[in-house]
Symmetry: C2
Subunit: 194 residues, 2 copies
C-alpha cells in the first residue's frame, strides 16, 4: 500500500498538515497562506477552515505534531544500545534528514518568527527546545561518565551549544543549497566532544 508523506494516515487533516508543514519549513510561517495549501490539495480555503479554524490553530497543530514526532525519534535512538557519541551522531542525522529535503527545522524557522507567533505556539516552541536540550544533557552526562565524551562546562551548557550549532548550521547551509556545509559543521561540532 503506497503511503506518501511522514504521517502514515491519509486523512484530510494530516494531508493539510503535511503540505502546510513543508511550506512553513521552506518559506516561513508568514510567507505561506491557506490559498497555497488549498491549491496544492485541490480543495478550497473554506475546507481548510473547517479542519483548522485559523492560521494560529493550524500552527499549533503543526508544532505539536512536529514535537511529538521528534520525541518519538529520540525515543527510537534510546531504544537501541549505542555509545554516547553514536547517539549524538544519530541526533545530528535527524537534522540532516530534514535539510536534505530542502527544509529548515520547523522549530528553527518558527524561532526566527517568534515575535509574530500566538502565545500557544510560543509555548510549544520553547518546550521543544527545552526537551531537546534535556535529552542531550542526559546523553552528554552519561558519555562523560563513561569516558566516551569530553568537554568543559556543564552538560546543560554543552547541550545548549549542540542545539544552537545544529539549528544554525541548517540556517546557514540552506542559502548555499549545500548539505555538505551542514555535515561539516556537525562533524566539527561532534569532533570537539571526543
Amino acid at each position: 500500500m503506497a503511503r506518501r508523506g511522514q504521517s502514515g494516515d491519509g486523512d484530510t487533516p494530516s494531508e493539510i498538515l503535511d503540505v502546510a508543514e513543508r511550506l512553513v519549513q521552506r518559506r516561513g510561517f508568514n510567507a505561506f497562506s491557506y490559498a497555497d495549501v488549498a491549491a496544492e490539495l485541490h480543495v478550497t480555503k473554506a475546507a481548510l477552515h473547517y479542519h483548522f479554524a485559523g492560521k494560529a490553530e493550524l500552527g499549533e497543530a503543526l508544532l505539536s505534531r512536529y514535537a511529538a514526532r521528534f520525541a518519538d525519534a529520540l525515543a527510537a535512538i534510546d531504544a537501541e544500545p549505542a555509545t554516547a557519541p553514536r547517539k549524538l551522531a544519530a541526533y545530528a542525522d535527524l537534522y540532516g534528514d530534514v535539510l536534505r529535503d530542502g527544509r529548515m527545522c520547523l522549530c528553527g524557522m518558527l524561532a526566527a518568527e517568534y515575535q509574530t507567533l500566538s502565545e500557544p505556539m510560543r509555548r510549544i516552541l520553547t518546550r521543544f527546545f527545552s526537551d531537546n536540550e534535556a535529552w542531550l544533557e542526559r546523553v552528554l552526562a552519561k558519555g562523560r561518565e563513561e569516558g566516551t565524551l569530553h568537554f568543559t562546562g556543564t552538560s546543560g551548557e554543552a547541550a545548549g551549544l549542540i542545539v544552537a550549532a545544529l539549528e544554525g548550521a541548517m540556517l546557514v547551509a540552506r542559502p548555499f543549497g549545500d548539505v555538505a556545509r551542514f555535515q561539516a559543521a556537525a562533524a566539527s561540532l561532534l569532533a570537539g566532544l571526543l
Copy 2:
C-alpha cells in the same frame, strides 16, 4: 550633538533603514510593511517609495549597509593587537550586542526567509556569510599557528561551525528572552577551541 541610531547620518534614507532594520531583525522581512515604517517615522508610505522603489530595493539597501557595518567591525577588531582567542571573543560580542537589543542577526533572519527573497538580496546574503567565514578562517589559522587555539579539522570547517553556532545560539535564545543562554553557548563554543 545628539545622534541616535547606528548610522551617524540623520538623513531620511538612513532613518528609514534604521526603522526597517529593527523591524526586520525583530519580526522578519515578511512580517513588516511600509505602513509600519511610515507610521513610526510619521510620514506616508508614498514618501518611502520615493527613497526605496520597492520592498526588494529596501531589502538590498538594508543588507548592503549591514554587511558593510559588519565588515567595519571586523576591521576594527583587526586594528588592535590581540590574541586569536580574544579576537574570537570580540567577534562573538558583535552577535551578543545585537541580541541584547532584542534583535536577531539581520542575515540570520533573512537566511530563514531565503526562499522568499529576491536574487540580489540572496547574493548579498550568501556573500555576508562567506566573508565572515573567511575572516574567521584567518584568525583560526593564525591562532593554531601561534598555539593559542587548538581544534581538529581545517580552519574553514571550524569557521563554519563558529558562524553556525553563533547564529543558532541567537535564534534559540530569543524565544527564551534570555541573553545568558547565548552567552553560555558562545562561551562553551570558544572553550572548545582552547
